[in-house]
């Protein structure tokens, strides 16, 4: 599912702090700066939506459907006469929030379980990995469709769908990374000194392997946003009337040759958010990667 190019990476040989100190702020990778800036911009617009919006995103004006951008409505109105600009801003809130949490749950659970089982190893890990094999054999959208048909479209469906398959890459990578890390000198030393298993994981191993899941999480958010949009296209997206980019694009599809800004502008918003997050993930990778 996510950024498995990390699979290609070798394990960092030094703790994270050493690496950051090595770079210093001035030598931070460009992609990181660009990515962080764009992402921050989008987040700010979402947070400031109540201030920046010119209308109530839910206010309908049936006499004024599908109007062209004007001074009163910066981006025109949609098929219910609602202000597109305001819906765009509030849509950012909806989509970013859902993307964040939908990507977070599997990231947290997958990482914790992966670390724990990677450390202890044994049959449980083997079983979990085999279950993961089965789940991943199902095409992702097949799983999403089934979950959404079962739980209904909208937020809950999306959370469950991602929780069902999202944890797998984290478990796989974390268990491998943990297994490798635990045999490193400093980890062996900690264990020999008699520290508890949990302490070793939390204090010594985690900081060194945490970089990868963080990067994967950021990349996953892009994936979730794209999936929300795609579900909207299939008619299984966020429940109306909540503003969200996916339903704006889906509802606006009929106008792509006439009132093109209605589907295209939310699409560009998705693109910008995706680029910001991707560059952020990229930058983090460069920052925390071993020398190449």
């Amino acid at each position: 599912m996510s950024n498995i190019n990390i699979l290609a990476e070798k394990l960092p040989t030094h703790p994270v702090e050493a690496r950051v100190r090595q770079y210093g702020v001035k030598r931070l990778p460009v992609t990181l700066i660009i990515g962080a800036t764009i992402t921050l911009l989008v987040v700010m617009m979402a947070l400031l939506a109540p201030i920046l919006a010119t209308h109530d995103p839910l206010a309908q004006d049936l006499a004024n459907q599908l109007s062209v951008p004007s001074l009163q409505h910066l981006l025109g109105t949609d098929y219910l006469g609602r202000d597109v600009w305001s819906r765009l801003l509030y849509g950012a809130r909806t989509d970013l929030r859902i993307a964040f949490f939908a990507a977070l749950f599997p990231a947290l659970t997958g990482t914790l379980i992966g670390c724990l089982l990677g450390f202890t190893g044994g049959r449980l890990l083997w079983l979990l990995l085999r279950i993961a094999d089965c789940l991943i054999a199902f095409p992702f959208y097949l799983v999403v469709l089934i979950v959404v048909f079962a739980f209904g479209s909208g937020e809950i469906g999306i959370y469950v769908a991602f929780a069902t398959v999202g944890w797998i890459p984290y478990v796989r990578i974390m268990s491998t990374a943990t297994q490798a890390a635990k045999n490193q000198e400093w980890a062996l030393a900690a264990q020999a000194a008699g520290l508890s298993r949990w302490r070793v994981i939390r204090v010594h191993i985690m900081p060194n392997v945490i970089a990868q899941p963080i990067i994967m999480f950021v990349a996953d958010m892009v994936y979730v946003i794209v999936a929300i949009i795609t579900l909207g296209y299939l008619g299984l997206g966020i429940q109306p009337p909540t503003p969200d980019w996916g339903s704006m694009i889906a509802d606006g599809q009929s106008f792509v040759t006439t009132l093109w800004w209605i589907p295209v502008i939310p699409g560009i918003a998705v693109l910008i958010t995706g680029i910001g997050l991707s560059f952020l993930a990229d930058g983090l990778t460069q920052l925390l990667r071993p020398d190449a």
Binding site: L62, Y79, F149
Partner: protein, 508 residues
């Protein structure tokens, strides 16, 4: 390991060359020739057993099978495979005379025993659009006459017989097994089956023995499956298909301006409704239902969601159905608030509205209704689920409000009204509103057998009055039929019951 890059290059170049040669003879732009007509539909055909299917399947099977009387362009039952139908004075015995010279696509002549077989089968299976007339026997005194005997007078007989699912098939499936027959159906219709990709395109070819001489003009009629609305419209614009017979209203204006496309708008018997679950604690109270009815601005809703192509509904019965009488109360927010104050919930309440996902029109309607009801203090949460779940929940009574669309298949209101507001007679627990009004039920039962037109009309007017007062179902919009074709095409007929006729279609 040098093979990878070099061979790849060869393969890709090879493909590009192949594509160039294919595209040189690019024939995809011109689809309609004298020979074949392509219709883009939104769902696949599931079966051609006309007596047991609905929607897309039945509107494809109806090109193959024809009924005794057919729904005409204005909606009235018109002689078709039968030339006349006469009833005796009590209305208990109907005699149909068959049209001479009608042949099935296998060349055999139509005989009365085919009619007997078909109708008896339909009565027994009770599938599809059921034949609910109180028929006691169907006999064939001679090869060209069919006699139908009824238990009681049933003035709607001709109209019910004209329903699409009563298309006539050869007796005993012309010697085939039932299963095989519907894979290679034999009918009297203008077209017969040529090929069928399950879940995909159904291609029909001209019936050489068709009883209307010179028709159909096209040798081939194909129905393709294009669930994506954009694809359907784009393919029409590109000339890859020739007809869309269920154009989404939002594209109507755009296509009317296009010189390559002709659009037409006609009456239909499709009605969009908002139904109540009368078992719901809030909606069992008639004052609440009336309040909701008064709070909805139907005209604004209709013009907004149909983009000015459909009219607001004024009765549960569609306008061109017999005995239609406009009865609905007009939009009035103050009256709505008053009505609500007479109920047990004068300050409003929270409830939900159920609708199938993926349907933009219904989603629009739900949001408008949500907005309008908020003005009288009713907070509505929208629940859009996939159609299978919606159906299940509705049948189980697990909903409060539901947006739906219903269609009258015939011009007589008997079946339509009974189905929607009579619990047992309609077989659907009053369309799953669980509404039970014994007085209304008895009026409908009387009207069903009343032979005098005037008296019958009065009964149906009273019925519509009761429905407008009790409001178990709120009629919202009379959905027009919008058909778009390439502008060089003429003769495609859109019928109010949802059927489309292609036997007169030809190039200008």
């Amino acid at each position: 390991m040098t093979f990878k890059k070099n061979r790849l290059n060869t393969i890709v170049s090879g493909l590009l060359l192949a594509q160039l040669s294919l595209f040189a003879g690019s024939s995809y732009v011109q689809a309609a020739s004298e020979k074949s007509l392509i219709v883009g539909r939104y769902a696949p055909v599931e079966s051609l057993d006309i007596a047991n299917v609905f929607d897309v399947s039945v509107y494809t099977a109806d090109q193959i099978f024809e009924p005794l009387y057919i729904v005409g362009k204005e909606g009235k039952p018109t002689p078709w495979l039968a030339t006349s139908a006469v009833s005796d004075n009590d209305g208990l015995v109907w005699t149909f005379k068959l049209r001479p010279g009608v042949k099935f696509s296998d060349g055999k002549a139509l005989r009365a025993e085919d009619v007997v077989f078909t109708l008896e089968r339909h009565l027994k299976n009770a599938g599809g659009i059921p034949l609910l007339a109180p028929i006691t026997s169907i006999t064939a005194p001679d090869q060209n006459t069919v006699v139908i005997k009824l238990k009681e007078a049933y003035p709607a007989l001709l109209s019910d017989i004209s329903a699409v699912s009563n298309g006539i098939m050869p007796a005993n499936f012309a010697g085939q097994t039932e299963e095989n027959f519907f894979r290679n159906p034999v009918g009297t219709g203008p077209f017969e089956l040529e090929s069928w990709e399950p879940g995909g395109t159904v291609t029909l070819k001209k019936n050489p023995h068709y009883w209307q001489s010179e028709k159909p003009y096209y040798d081939e009629l194909a129905f393709t499956v294009l669930p994506d609305e954009n694809q359907r419209v784009q393919q029409l614009l590109a000339g890859q298909i020739d007809v869309i017979d269920n154009l989404p209203p939002v594209r109507f204006a755009e296509l009317s301006k296009n010189p390559d496309i002709s659009v037409s708008r006609s009456e239909s018997w499709i009605i969009q409704i908002l139904q109540f679950n009368t078992k719901d604690p809030h909606f069992s109270d008639v004052h609440v239902r009336r309040a909701v009815n008064l709070a909805i601005d139907r005209k604004a809703l209709a013009s907004a969601t149909s983009f000015n192509t459909s009219d607001a509904a004024t009765s549960l019965v569609p306008p061109t159905v017999d005995f239609f009488d406009a009865k609905i109360s007009e939009h009035d927010i103050d009256a709505a608030k008053q009505e609500l104050s007479r109920s047990a919930f004068p300050d409003g309440f929270s409830t939900t509205i159920l609708l199938p996902g993926g349907d933009q029109v219904r989603s629009q309607q739900a949001q408008i209704i949500q907005n309008q009801l908020a003005k009288i203090g009713i907070k509505v949460a929208i629940i859009s689920l996939d159609p299978a779940v919606v159906r299940e929940k509705t049948h189980a009574g697990d909903y409060a409000l539901r947006l739906q669309e219903s269609i009258s298949d015939v011009s007589d209101p008997n079946i339509f009204l009974t189905y929607h507001v009579s619990p047992e007679d309609g077989g659907s627990d009053s369309y799953w509103t669980f509404y039970n009004n014994p007085h209304l039920t008895s009026i409908l039962r009387q009207a069903r057998v009343e032979q005098d037109e005037k008296l019958r009309g009065a009964l149906y007017r009273e019925a519509q009055d009761i429905i407008a007062t009790d409001v178990p179902i709120i009629p919202l919009v009379y959905q027009s039929r919008l058909v778009a074709t390439r502008s060089n095409l003429t003769g495609v007929e859109a019928i109010p019951n949802g059927a489309t006729r292609f036997y007169s279609a030809r190039e200008k």
